[in-house]
Amino acid sequence: MLEDIVHILPQELKAIIYHLPMEVKHSLEEIRIRENRPLEISHRGSFHYATEQGKLVLDPRQAYQPSHEQCRKLLERITNYSLYAMEEELRRGYITIAGGHRIGIAGRTILDGGSVRGIRDIGGFNIRIAREVVGAAKQLLPKLFAGPGGSLQSTLMISPPQQGKTTMLRDVARSLSYGSHGKQLPMKVAIVDERSEIAASVRGIPSFDVGPRTDVMDACPKAEGMMMLLRSMSPDVIIVDEIGRVEDALAIREAAHCGVKVIATAHAYDVQEVLGRSEIRGLIQEKAFGSIVELKRSQHGFMHRIIAVDRLLEHSRQNSGFFSLSRKAGS
């Protein structure tokens, strides 16, 4: 797994990463490279600077400082010597490399009529190590088949950031595509991967195993991607990350009309908060989603709580209705 990362690093940095303590190497989360400034390593939630010998220290003065030459070489290797072919990635601010790792970049932006057209004079890199957790959704999967006759239900997964939404979504896609959950035959899965996070495609080919019957629309706006996939790939289920805009809601309705299930995620701490977002509230009221899953990551792995939308609607009717719920979330 580290091979993909080490492969792109210039010699000096490669040696440092190679000499890091074993347990750090295994729990590596980010390598932050800033030109002529201390080399930072973050692992399992904490951070350190790294010295030339690969020792971890907290004093930035002892840390190794990558040179201009090294940063330039790193950039060349990340872009495969072809910055010109990365204009879209530079506008987004990150590049996905083989293995699904994402490299965030910072530097001086080029503006075009007030909007960012790209980045030049790149002086900061944040290499984020991607880890695939096969089987993350094992517990959750059987509960998604709560529709009539044990069929798959459209599901909205919610959680705060950094709690494993994307990891979970990826494993759901993979399991449905393989049919490994044992509930149903392998399904045709379509992923709209606007931020190249779910499948981490490199040149259109997924870096992660997302299953044999999965099609990925990479770097595509969600709503448009969903419509394209509905028309072109006849999926059984569409997987999409971070919904919330008006267009997204329209596309999800369209999918529901076609009988295609949607498994989507949204940023929110709990059901109350997600109901405060009008587009998503609308979808829930229309029962475009059969259930909502709250996700949390604890030390023991992924935790989830499933809320059936029918029950939720019933509950809110008996109490003072949806709007009191949403007001509570807003306050």
């Binding site: 330039r72 872009t79 495969n80 010597y81 010109y84 204009e87």
Partner: protein, 179 residues
């Protein structure tokens, strides 16, 4: 008998000198012919590279190999060698790989120092800016190479024929002097 044998040897020598002279003339002439031919191929390759970068958005190692297709050795070697050096494990930067390829290939070509300068300058920016900027640099290099090519063609017309006849004529002169 002996006189006849001597005559034969003299004749043989004369023929050899004639051959050698003509060959020297042709080699000198071929330098001019090759130079303008290689310049032309270089320009073609850069045009192709331009298309690959602009419309194709092809990544540089592949773009270099594609540009080398359809042109002849040793110019094509310049591009394939750079691509090979880039994908090798040595971790060369683009500029270093390009420089190394030029130094390795240059002596086999009929190209001169002026073209070398143009190519080296181009290599220092290749790949490392947006498409628009890349095109500007590639076009600048092409303009410079084209003016070299015009000069080379002029020289070819003037000197290639001259060397061809000079070789033979020189050889005849030597033969006459010796006889």
């Amino acid at each position: 008998m002996i006189v006849q044998a001597l005559m034969m040897i003299k004749l043989l020598g004369a023929v050899l000198i004639l051959f050698a002279g003509t060959a020297i003339g042709f080699v000198q002439a071929s330098f001019y012919v090759n130079r303008s031919k290689q310049l032309r191929q270089l320009i073609h390759a850069l045009q192709r590279l331009e298309t690959e970068i602009d419309y194709g958005q092809t990544e540089l190692p592949t773009a270099l190999i594609k540009s080398s297709e359809g042109i002849e050795q040793p110019v094509s070697r310049l591009f394939t060698l750079t691509a090979e050096l880039l994908t090798a494990e040595q971790e060369l930067s683009m500029n270093e790989a390009w420089q190394q390829a030029i130094h390795q290939v240059w002596d086999v070509t009929s190209l001169r120092a002026r073209e070398k300068e143009v190519l080296l300058r181009m290599g220092s920016v290749l790949g490392m800016s947006n498409a628009e900027d890349q095109l500007k640099h590639l076009q600048l290099a092409q303009i410079q190479l084209k003016s070299e090519e015009a000069l080379a063609r002029e020289e070819q017309q003037r000197y290639a024929n001259m060397w061809r006849s000079l070789g033979t004529l020189g050889a005849i002169l030597i033969v006459i002097l010796m006889v």
